[in-house]
């Protein structure tokens, strides 16, 4: 490709070659871990059918997220995703909160991955005859090892995991084919249909909470704006087909698991796909799904440590947090203080909290971020109407996606409240207290002039 210059970010394209296919593949790769664990708690909230409806409704929520994020990201030059957007469009207090959402969403996901991995080792150890195997040491080992890997930064290279992540994806497809979904030899969907909606339509609403887990993070593909050949075409096409693929993959996962396990068990399983493989009594399938679960959780946890520490580091650099966190290791060139600081946070949650609660904290943080996006895009269009600044992509039907997103987010808050009201209130209190601390104490240290790095015209009304 030609050495064209992208306007935004550091994307001086040596490799401006990404098409919709690349965006699709990478988007699916990022969210893969959601198929291996967590989604099945939606079954526990409202039964099999409710989980499927929740999965599809969550797909609609993420379609709105992808449309909105594609437009804003293709316009805000400074990389950093929603955090940078909040700095430019809303203000420092919002940016501080968005930074915290990111840190919590990633750190809790990291803890959830470690719990899953520990449980898996315990389950396999027990199957192999080591009945005394305990999951806690493996949880600690996973978090500490990955934190060390991140601390080492460019000194460590583990590209072999690219292949292993591909194996994790193929494992799901093989499992689907192996259970012969066209026959009733292994699958038993009769009971599922008989069970219907055990908690009625309220259960469907409650399931929406964990329905988000199937897609959490897919909006990351929108950040590829500067590398794709034709952002206006490739970005929405790649992201939407990514969501559709996940929707199909989620439905496949749901179909296999719901046919193999009673909903009462599936609704609280830690490793649903591995359990599904165990029920087929096929050793090769069990090994494949074991490997798939291990590597998808490891890859996900590693990415989470990386992203959470960088979000924390950015907030330190911007003086939203003590500048001590904004330090870079002189040799490893990593945000080592942020990495180390977040290790005990992840450990506390992974060690003491159950998986469903940890996932709830992660989903809540993500949900707060999506709620912010609905307000953000309306403010963005109002302050800088179409034509006043150059946009790489303009999402259609504005403000409908923002309104739909806000309605779905509100419904999901209610869903969380139904099952995890204490966690919801605790988290909101935490963010309120943190915001008060920022407003009344920390804000005096923020260099306001350094915050705005875009040469945009003065917003309408200012």
């Amino acid at each position: 490709m030609s050495q064209t210059t992208a306007v935004h970010g550091e994307k001086i394209s040596l490799l401006r070659v990404l098409g919709p296919g690349h965006v699709w593949a990478l988007g699916v790769g990022i969210v893969l871990v959601g198929e291996y664990m967590g989604w099945n708690f939606a079954v526990g909230k409202g039964g099999m059918i409710a989980a499927l409806i929740a999965c599809w409704v969550a797909g609609l929520l993420y379609t709105c997220v992808a449309m909105i994020d594609s437009e804003v990201t293709s316009t805000v030059a400074a990389a950093g995703g929603q955090y940078a957007q909040a700095k430019h469009i809303v203000g420092p207090l919002m940016a501080f909160n968005v930074g915290l959402y990111l840190v919590f969403a990633y750190t809790m996901l990291e803890a959830a991955n470690a719990i899953t991995l520990g449980y898996l080792v315990q389950a396999v150890g027990t199957m192999a005859g080591f009945s005394d195997v305990h999951d806690k040491p493996f949880i600690v080992l996973t978090i500490v090892f990955l934190a060390w890997l991140n601390y080492r930064g460019v000194y460590a290279t583990l590209t072999v995991n690219l292949v292993l992540t591909a194996i994790a994806f193929i494992a799901i497809v093989i499992l689907f084919a192996a259970v012969k979904p066209w026959s009733h030899e292994l699958l038993n969907h009769k009971d599922m249909l008989n069970a219907g909606l055990p908690y009625g339509w309220l259960g469907v609403l409650a399931s929406l909470h964990f329905g988000l887990w199937y897609y959490l993070g897919i909006e990351g593909t929108c950040q590829a704006a500067e590398e794709v050949r034709s952002p206006a075409r490739s970005l929405p096409l790649g992201t939407m087909t990514g969501i559709m693929t996940l929707l199909i993959a989620a439905t496949m996962t749901w179909y296999v698991c719901s046919g193999l396990m009673p909903w009462e068990y599936l609704g609280q399983a830690v490793t649903p796909l591995f359990d599904a493989a165990r029920l087929t009594s096929s050793m090769p399938l069990m090994v494949l799904l074991f490997v798939g679960t291990v590597f998808s959780t490891l890859a996900s946890a590693n990415g989470c440590i990386n992203d959470a520490s960088r979000a924390w580091f950015s907030m330190g650099r911007d003086r939203y947090l003590p500048t001590w966190f904004g330090a870079v290791h002189p040799k490893n060139r990593t945000p080592y203080r942020s990495i180390v600081f977040l290790v005990p946070v992840a450990l506390v949650f992974a060690y003491f909290a159950p998986l469903d609660q940890v996932i709830t904290f992660s989903i809540l943080s993500g949900l707060l971020g999506y709620t912010y996006m609905s307000f953000n895009v309306i403010l963005f269009r109002r302050k800088w109407p179409l034509g006043t600044i150059k946009r790489g992509y303009i999402h259609p039907f504005h403000p409908l996606p923002a309104i739909v997103l806000l309605i779905l987010c509100s419904a999901t808050y209610f869903a969380v409240f139904l099952g995890y009201g204490t966690q919801l209130v605790a988290m909101l209190i935490f963010f309120v207290v943190a915001s008060l601390w920022f407003h009344f104490h920390r804000y005096q240290y923020v260099r306001r002039g350094d915050q705005f790095t875009m040469q945009w015209p003065r917003p309408v009304g200012y």
């Binding site: 040596l14 690349h22 950093g80 192999a128 583990l158 490997v291 890859a299 979000a311 950015s314 002039g449």
Partner: protein, 224 residues
């Protein structure tokens, strides 16, 4: 059970072996990135960091120059960047300092712009996404005197930062961008085609020359 354990052990050992081989391959590929440029400097010396990235030092027109490759993975939602950092030591003890940084995001740990506190007006004709700063108000005059050289430097979209301090002049230039696949799925820092072309480095040296000359000319004019 013994068979299962044996298979698991073989699997782990194989994965570890493949990972170590990959690691050695990536590190080895990094070591040679500046090899072709060594002839541009007299008395050149190439050293390597623990991460494998090289540093080239030597003299160009009698002035000491250090060329470093600096991987940057510090922001979220962005691919890793490989920066080429050129530092030319030439003391100007009383000269006002200034620096210009393109597309700042606040996480540029390698940048000198963050150390300056006075916001300056960038020269006309350079990209709009740029921040200019100095250490004192009269840095603006020094910057204005070098505006022609700065315009030339920033006409290259890969230029990231130009800085003038009392110790010397510095350019930061984008050498490569990380692979999206490796970064997205395992946050790895992998660059391909990152080798620095001697012709490009020679052009960057001439950019440094021009910037340095503009500073000297201003100094001479003031002295006169």
């Amino acid at each position: 059970m013994t068979l299962s354990l044996a298979l698991a052990g073989i699997g782990l050992a194989t994965t570890a072996a493949v990972a170590m081989r990959e690691h050695a391959k990536v590190t080895a590929a990094r070591r040679t990135l500046l090899d072709r440029c060594a002839d541009l400097l007299s008395g050149s010396d190439i050293t390597h960091g623990g991460d494998g990235f090289p540093t080239l030092e030597g003299f160009h027109d009698g002035r000491f120059i250090r060329v470093e490759l600096l991987p940057d993975t510090m922001t979220i939602r962005r691919l890793p960047q490989l920066w080429l950092k050129l530092t030319r030591l030439e003391a100007r003890p009383a000269h006002p300092e200034f620096s210009l940084l393109v597309r700042p995001s606040g996480t540029e740990f390698y940048s000198l712009t963050g150390h300056h506190s006075v916001i300056l007006e960038p020269p006309a004709g350079v990209t709009t996404e740029i921040v200019a700063k100095g250490d004192r108000p009269d840095s603006q005059h020094a910057l204005d005197a070098s505006s022609s050289a700065l315009r030339r430097i920033f006409s290259d979209p890969r230029a990231k930062e130009a800085a003038v301090t009392r110790k010397g002049v510095r350019l930061i230039w984008q050498a490569a961008e990380g692979h999206r696949g490796e970064h997205l799925l395992f946050r790895q820092c992998r660059f391909e085609n990152a080798g620095v072309d001697p012709g490009t480095l020679a052009r960057l040296f001439s950019d440094l020359d021009e910037l340095s000359s503009s500073l000297d000319e201003r100094w001479k004019m003031r002295a006169a």
